[in-house]
């Protein structure tokens, strides 16, 4: 079964970094053969919102954010990797590995 990851991206202006980070995560996940759903919290609002079901399915959550995550209580009891929004743009592979390492530890 493929690994399943959910992620949220958000930056201060909400027009560029947010979407570039989302793109980078999806691209890298595809390359590594993982499934990922990314919710973007940008200037125009929330896109591709993660549903309650998505939150249950995802093994681990990545917050690639420079600002507050909206509706954070959806992820209660989840393992969360929090990184700056620039991190996946620079090295998405490392972000994905670090996130999965969080769940693989125990």
């Amino acid at each position: 079964m493929k690994r399943k990851i959910i992620a949220i991206t958000a930056c201060a202006t909400g027009i560029a970094h947010t979407y570039m980070a989302a793109q980078a995560l999806k691209k890298e996940a595809k390359k590594k053969g993982y499934l990922i759903k990314v919710e973007t919290q940008g200037a125009t609002g929330i896109d591709n919102a993660l549903t309650k079901k998505d939150c249950e399915i995802g093994e681990v959550v990545i917050f690639a954010v420079d600002t507050k995550v909206r509706d954070e209580d959806r992820f209660i009891n989840k393992k969360i990797l929090k990184v700056p929004v620039a991190a996946p743009i620079k090295n998405a592979g490392k972000v994905l590995d670090d996130a999965l390492a969080l769940v693989d530890e125990n």
Partner: protein
């Protein structure tokens, strides 16, 4: 400690992200009225005497200036409220708003508003986490104690502890910036430009840009002029580089170059990021120096941008706009040439065709299995 700092940075950036639309709205509306006024040769359209002007258009322009002021007046309450919101969610909004209002009244400035938001947020968090009431009374905390004690505590701290030093700092900063003579003003512009060019829409850039925007409310225009010039130089410059040296960039970056020019023209630094990510050691120095050159030139030669708009549609409201545009061009061409000359030839491979059109969707059934 590092964690606390990065947490605070996140809170402040959240506040800034909610404040930016307000600053844009207010300052642009104000600029419209001032440009309109200048058509009639009026330099002080905000003056009370135009309320009763015989000319309806002038009356309207005077009102519009007031509307812009109303929007800008909300700047400090909003940044303060949303910093507090970032710290403790909904509970922080009321104390944050009121704290920001007080900051505005005592003239404690942008830094005061940031402090107010953090104070409001952390006081509420403290109350929420530490006051334990019996189960039946639990709801008293969020509906009564946090709003009342949080707001009162915030106001007392601002008024009696941080108010005086922050007001002094703010007034001092305004005096200092207004009193800067030619040479020092150019140095200030160079620093602002370099900060803006450094991380292209990241925290250092936002710190410089928002401080410059906040100073507009104190009629200090030089930092804003420097910042607005510096914002658009990196994307335009790097876009030009892909045109000057087509064979040194692969297809993906050439496409990124086209969109960078467009993003630059509408005032978005982030268009330069794909280049900075791909080759930071060459691109970042070029954007820092290029933006600094453009900013220093614009401010040094006397261009004044009173609005927080960097896109081309704002260029013609700038005082001495030809200088302003030439400064942007100079900085951009510097960035372009710096990259064209230093970039190694072998970087232009073409194996990435159509990469952008890749499909990331996947089978919902597989996801839910």
């Amino acid at each position: 400690m590092k964690n606390v700092l990065s947490e605070i940075k996140n809170h402040v950036l959240t506040g800034i992200s909610y404040m930016i639309p307000l600053v844009i709205a207010g300052a642009v509306i104000m600029a419209i009225s001032r440009v309109g006024g200048s058509i009639y040769g009026i330099k002080d359209i905000w003056d009370e005497k135009y309320v009763h002007s015989g000319n309806a258009v002038i009356q309207l322009l005077h009102s519009i200036d007031g509307f812009g002021g109303t929007a800008l007046g909300l700047m400090f309450p909003i940044i303060s409220a949303f910093i507090a919101y970032s710290v403790v969610d909904k509970l922080g909004v009321a104390p944050g708003l009121v704290g920001g209002m007080l900051v505005k009244d005592i003239n404690a400035g942008f830094l005061g508003a940031i402090a107010s938001g953090l104070i409001a947020g952390y006081i509420c968090l403290l109350i929420k986490d530490n006051i334990k009431l019996p189960k039946t009374m639990e709801s008293v905390v969020p509906v009564f104690l946090v709003p009342v004690l949080g707001t009162l505590g915030t106001l007392l701290l601002i008024n009696y502890v941080i108010g005086v030093p922050f007001t002094a700092l703010n007034v001092g900063l305004e005096h200092w910036l207004n009193g800067l003579s030619g040479g020092n003003q150019i140095i200030m512009a160079t620093v602002v430009g370099a900060m803006v060019g450094f991380d292209l829409g990241g925290p250092v850039n936002k710190a410089a840009v928002t401080t410059a925007m906040a100073l507009l409310t104190s009629q200090v225009y030089a930092p804003n002029t420097a910042a607005q010039v510096a914002i658009i130089i990196p994307p335009i410059g790097l876009g030009l580089a892909t045109i000057f040296a087509k064979n040194k960039y692969n297809t993906e970056l050439r496409e990124a170059g086209k969109s960078a020019i467009i993003m630059g023209l509408v005032g978005v630094s982030e268009g330069a990021i794909p280049f900075a990510v791909e080759n930071p050691t060459k691109v970042v120095p070029s954007t820092v120096i290029g933006s600094a050159i453009g900013s220093a030139m614009a401010v040094g030669l006397g261009a004044v941008n009173e609005a927080p708009i960097s896109g081309f549609y704002g260029w013609f409201t700038v005082q001495s706009w030809p200088i302003y545009v030439i400064s942007i061009a100079t900085g951009s061409i510097f960035v372009a040439l710096f990259n064209v000359i230093l970039r190694s030839k072998d970087a232009g491979d073409n194996d990435n065709l159509n990469k952008d059109e890749e499909d990331y969707s996947f089978d919902e059934a597989e996801w839910e299995s």
